[in-house]
């Protein structure tokens, strides 16, 4: 009897899902504090990249007292990339469900911000490439060259997405 009462009060899964998706949709009007899909995407990317590659470099540096040839970074790198890809895919599916209209749409403000962010990321990447060229010239071990390039990609990605966040906030 009691369980039947509780069952009647419990909303159906479909209805719960509809309510959840409605609540996640951005408001029709606001004072500009809400983020666009692309702004949320940039924030998510920064967090995901920092968490996964932060852990990767932490583990790598923790084992730096070993001989260079013994540093097994390749399996760790593959695992990190798989985890990052999974996090990015899941988080972007959630973001796209929240704002389906914005997910595949770049307006002129998004494009301008994206171009500026790409410029910043490009400059950062160029600096890292110069550093790697120097490492190559002094015949550093492959593990250092590979991981310097990787660190450069991570820093340039974070710099680009951070630029996006700053520009979105300044113009909202």
């Amino acid at each position: 009897m009691l369980s039947r009462i509780f069952d009647n009060q419990r909303p159906s899964p479909v209805r719960s899902c509809q309510r959840f998706l409605t609540a996640l949709r951005p408001p029709e009007e606001s004072n500009g504090a809400t983020m666009t899909f692309h702004e949320r995407s940039a924030l998510t990317t920064i967090v995901a990249v920092l968490v996964t590659f932060g852990a990767y470099f932490f583990v790598l540096i923790a084992g730096v007292d070993r001989r260079v040839d013994d540093i097994a970074y390749k399996p760790l790198l593959v695992l990190t990339v798989i985890v990052l890809t999974a996090i990015m895919a899941i988080s972007h599916i959630v973001l796209a469900v929240r704002a389906p209209d914005e997910a595949n749409h770049l307006d002129e403000r998004d494009r301008t911000i994206s171009q500026r962010a790409d410029q910043v990321a490009g400059v950062v990447l160029a600096c890292v490439v110069l550093l790697v060229i120097f490492l190559t010239m002094v015949e550093a071990a492959h593990v250092y060259i590979a991981n310097s390039l990787l660190l450069g990609l991570v820093i340039s990605q974070v710099a680009g997405d951070s630029t996006k966040l700053v520009l979105y906030r300044r113009s909202s």
């Binding site: 951005p26 029709e28 009007e29 606001s30 004072n31 500009g32 809400t34 983020m35 666009t36 899909f37 702004e39 209209d101 914005e102 749409h105 307006d107 002129e108 403000r109 998004d110 301008t112 911000i113 500026r116 520009l167 979105y168 300044r170 113009s171 909202s172």
Partner: protein, 73 residues
């Protein structure tokens, strides 16, 4: 990105005059996100000429009736 702009606009007023058109409705009609329209309306972002014309055309008014350039010298 936040272009320091001397351009002011009457988009909010025109939306109210047109029967409480929401930011979302206007944004969809002119092909930008609601957040971008909000930024334009608050003077934080200067739209392209194309978007400015689309806004004016939506309200069926001239560009000068929507945007004003304040040249204080």
């Amino acid at each position: 990105m936040a272009k320091p702009t001397k351009v002011t606009n009457r988009i909010g007023e025109l939306r109210r005059d047109a029967g409480e058109v929401s930011q979302g409705e206007l944004a969809t009609a002119i092909g930008v996100t609601r957040q971008t329209l909000n930024a334009i309306e608050r003077g934080k972002y200067s739209p392209s000429l194309e978007v400015a014309f689309r806004i004016a055309r939506f309200f069926d008014v001239g560009l000068d009736d929507v945007f004003t350039y304040r040249d204080d010298g």
